[in-house]
């Protein structure tokens, strides 16, 4: 707890999933071995996601004078020089340091409330969380606030559900509070299933205690005594850190009976999701915890009246709950200074795709998409023109570059035809085919449809077949209209959010990129050069030195030629996988 006052060097290595995937553990071990071997008095800590995922592995070096320097893309090989020159020599290795301007432009437009501790504290240390005002909010409400006052505070903050639908959290809690039943439940929805989204995973891996504290506060407010965290089995590290945090919290007396000596009992259990996207929908999630197939049911009754085991249940998303302790500690008025009239506070986004600086970001509501892509994200990673941004995952839509000044709040995003969703933001450049994206998401929702509603089960499949036909060069007049008609029917005739939003990616791409659909149908061309049936790969003889590397990778043996002479691709055999283009070091393969 007292490290902040220590007079020694402090090294932090970002060890959330992406840091580890980039080799973070090896970097951490390299530091550890060096310090051990050389007997250096340096504090080495693991921390969670620092946000700048594009620079993983990230290492923060703080001098005894508290001067902080960030190194990006650190490898175990770089460790020795950092120790020698920076820690022993006192001079940072400037060529590996992330420049201040870069950090500033990445952070300038951000406001960190949910991510307040991410990348700062050790997620496996309750002492670190306590030192960062952790569990102060639960202490405050037990000491001085009635459940009704807690609900009013959260209602006044304007916090809305961050899972996507944006329902006001305080009002949701109020419904459950009013239900006259002695047994009530809180469920934390951590079944983050959107492909391209990692907000909840990062929060759970980097600051699990803040979510636990949020659950406790929700439990106190609605009068529940038991909580479940429903987390994807695909997130092993998040589960592991949650288990550690729950054990620590229990030992410290924040979970259990008579919490902090007050008349409040609460217990938290983890349930692992078994890989069904539809379980993000609350009634399906409840079915899954009850040990059944996760199929949504008709509402009402809403879970607030009859949820888990038929008891009143409040379901909140990870990000929503992580906001709560901050709101209690700093007050509703501090929170609602951020944001727009109807969307208060901040939103966490997972910025990815063809963006130069992808990562985990938190921005005040009301910021424009342009500011996110260019100020924070630094534009496209390829240097090619920014074409569109996909928001909200499979339930969301594609917003074109021409609407980049759209403000990020629930109402403005919905107006474009997309939805805010849980926070996936995928940047696309001119090489991204909009039909391919629509097909990609529809393929996903089609496979994940639970099959209960006919239009969601069969309608999405028919839509997918039409898209497949168009991208294979067999589109015909009337296909676009047919897609639109089917889309409306799927939306209307589906019970849950999955089916009601599944056509959004198709509808938004048709709305903003109709010309691209027409090019596929009438000219049999894919303008982004992505759809295999409509493109041809060719080796440019002038550029090909005949090294033969591409032949090693070609899966169908379609490339032939003599060493040191230009090779040729046999179009009959070529399956358009693009491996040759990817491995060629001289850009001798072109596509048209």
């Amino acid at each position: 707890m007292s490290w902040a006052r220590d007079k020694s060097w402090l090294i932090k290595v970002g060890l959330a999933s992406c840091g580890i995937a980039a080799g973070g553990r090896k970097v951490y071990d390299a530091f550890s071995t060096q310090f051990g071997d050389r007997g250096l008095d340096v504090k080495l800590k693991q921390t969670g996601c620092m946000g700048m995922c594009y620079n993983e592995v990230l290492v923060e070096v703080s001098s005894p004078e508290k001067e902080r320097i960030f190194y990006g893309k650190v490898t175990p090989e770089k460790v020795e020089r950092i120790i020698n020159e920076h820690i022993i020599g006192g001079k940072p290795v400037t060529e590996w340091v992330i420049p201040d301007e870069e950090i500033n432009s990445f952070l300038a437009k951000q406001t960190r409330i949910v991510l307040r501790n991410c990348g700062i504290i050790d997620p496996e240390s309750i002492d670190d969380y306590l030192a960062a005002d952790g569990y102060q909010a639960i202490d405050k409400i037990l000491r001085s606030m009635s459940p009704q006052e807690v609900i009013s505070e959260v209602t006044n903050s304007g916090l809305r559900g961050r899972g996507g639908a944006g329902f006001p959290t305080g009002i949701k809690w109020g419904f459950a509070r009013k239900s006259a039943n002695r047994q009530k439940y809180i469920i934390c929805n951590a079944d983050e299933g959107d492909p391209g989204a990692f907000m909840d995973r990062s929060v759970l891996e980097s600051d699990p205690h803040s979510v636990i504290e949020g659950i406790l506060i929700a439990g106190y407010a609605v009068g529940a005594s038991e909580g479940y965290i429903y987390v994807r089995a695909e997130y092993p590290l998040a589960i592991q850190r949650l288990e550690i945090a729950i054990a620590q919290s229990r030992e410290a007396g924040f979970i259990g009976e008579s919490i902090l000596g007050y008349n409040f009992d609460f217990d938290i259990k983890i349930r692992q999701g078994a890989g069904a996207f539809v379980c993000g929908e609350e009634t399906a999630l409840i079915m899954s915890i009850e040990g059944r197939r996760g199929m949504p049911r008709f509402r009402p009754p809403f879970p607030a009246q009859s949820g888990l085991w038929g008891k009143p249940t409040t379901i909140n998303n990870v990000e929503t709950l992580a906001n709560v302790p901050w709101i209690i500690l700093h007050g509703a008025d501090a929170y609602n200074t951020y944001g727009t009239e109807k969307s208060k506070g901040t939103k966490v986004f997972a910025l990815a795709g063809k963006v130069a600086r992808g990562g985990l970001i938190e921005v005040p509501m009301g910021i424009t998409l342009r500011e996110i892509v260019f100020n924070i994200g630094g534009g496209t990673s390829t240097g090619l023109e920014f074409k569109a941004i996909q928001i909200g995952g499979p339930s969301g839509g594609v917003i074109p570059a021409s609407l980049a000044d759209t403000r990020v709040d629930y109402e403005s995003v919905t107006e474009t035809g997309a939805i805010m969703g849980s926070g996936g933001l995928i940047v696309m450049d001119e090489t991204s085919c909009m039909l391919d994206i629509a097909k990609f998401f529809l393929n996903f929702t089609q496979a994940e449809s639970c099959g209960k509603c006919t239009f969601c089960r069969v309608g999405t499949l028919r839509m997918l077949e039409i898209l497949q036909r168009i991208t294979e060069g067999n589109g015909k007049e009337g296909d676009i209209e047919l897609l639109e008609e089917l889309a409306q029917n799927v939306k209307r005739a589906s019970l849950c959010g999955l089916g009601q939003t599944a056509p959004n990616p198709v509808l938004t791409t048709v709305k903003y990129f109709r010309d691209e659909y027409e090019a596929h149908i009438y000219e049999k061309k894919c303008p982004a050069k992505k759809c295999p049936a409509l493109i041809t790969y060719e080796i440019i003889p002038e550029k090909c030195p005949g090294c033969g590397l591409c032949t090693k990778y070609c899966p169908t043996g379609a490339i032939s030629g003599e060493k040191k002479k230009p090779y040729v691709i046999d179009n009959e055999k070529c399956i358009r996988c693009g491996l040759c283009m990817k491995v060629c070091r001289l850009d001798a393969v072109s596509v048209y």
Partner: protein, 172 residues
């Protein structure tokens, strides 16, 4: 996740019963039971479905329905190494297709298959959540990011080398 040794173990009623009893204290335990069965054997053996149904007093058809509903459960044994290929949005945009193509060439298993030599099972997953490192795959629980076809060769070669060093595995 290291499952290799246990995949060759024959499912036993004693082990299945112990798992059921461990979880069956609370309602709705079928899914946690199946998850632990799979962790033990690498898959859900058909014999376990029947046994769980009898022990927990639920129709076998319902247990089977749960197994087939959730993507996590498999009914076939795993190869020695499990490779999950991420098909998330970011990975899709950044070229998973080419990486996956190369992977199936060098492992001999297409997505959803186990290679003939039993060395690799390749699975397609919706998203590993490492979008900033796209395209990525997970090998035996460890994630590899920023992949290229060349990097795939390296990863697979390293596994093969490691396997060759160990005691020769029985075939099949």
């Amino acid at each position: 996740m290291v499952i290799e040794a246990s995949t060759r173990e024959k499912p036993s009623f004693a082990v299945i019963d112990a798992i059921v009893h461990k979880h069956n204290v609370e309602a709705g335990a079928v899914i946690p039971v199946l998850q632990e069965i799979q962790e033990t054997y690498g898959y859900v053996p058909p014999v376990a479905i029947q046994r769980i149904a009898e022990n927990m007093n639920v129709p076998a058809s319902e247990v089977f329905g749960i197994v087939t509903f959730y993507a996590q459960f498999r009914l076939q044994p795993l190869g020695k190494n499990l490779i999950k290929v991420c098909h998330g949005t970011a990975c899709h945009l950044c070229g998973t297709e080419t990486v996956a193509e190369r992977l199936s060439q060098v492992t001999g298993a297409r997505e959803g298959e186990t290679s003939q030599d039993g060395m690799f099972t390749v699975e397609r997953v919706a998203c590993l959540g490492c979008c900033s490192l796209a395209p990525c795959i997970m090998v035996n629980g460890e994630t590899y990011g920023r992949l290229t076809p060349e990097a795939i060769d390296k990863i697979v070669n390293e596994i093969r080398k490691k396997e060759a060093k160990e005691i020769p595995a029985p075939v099949g």
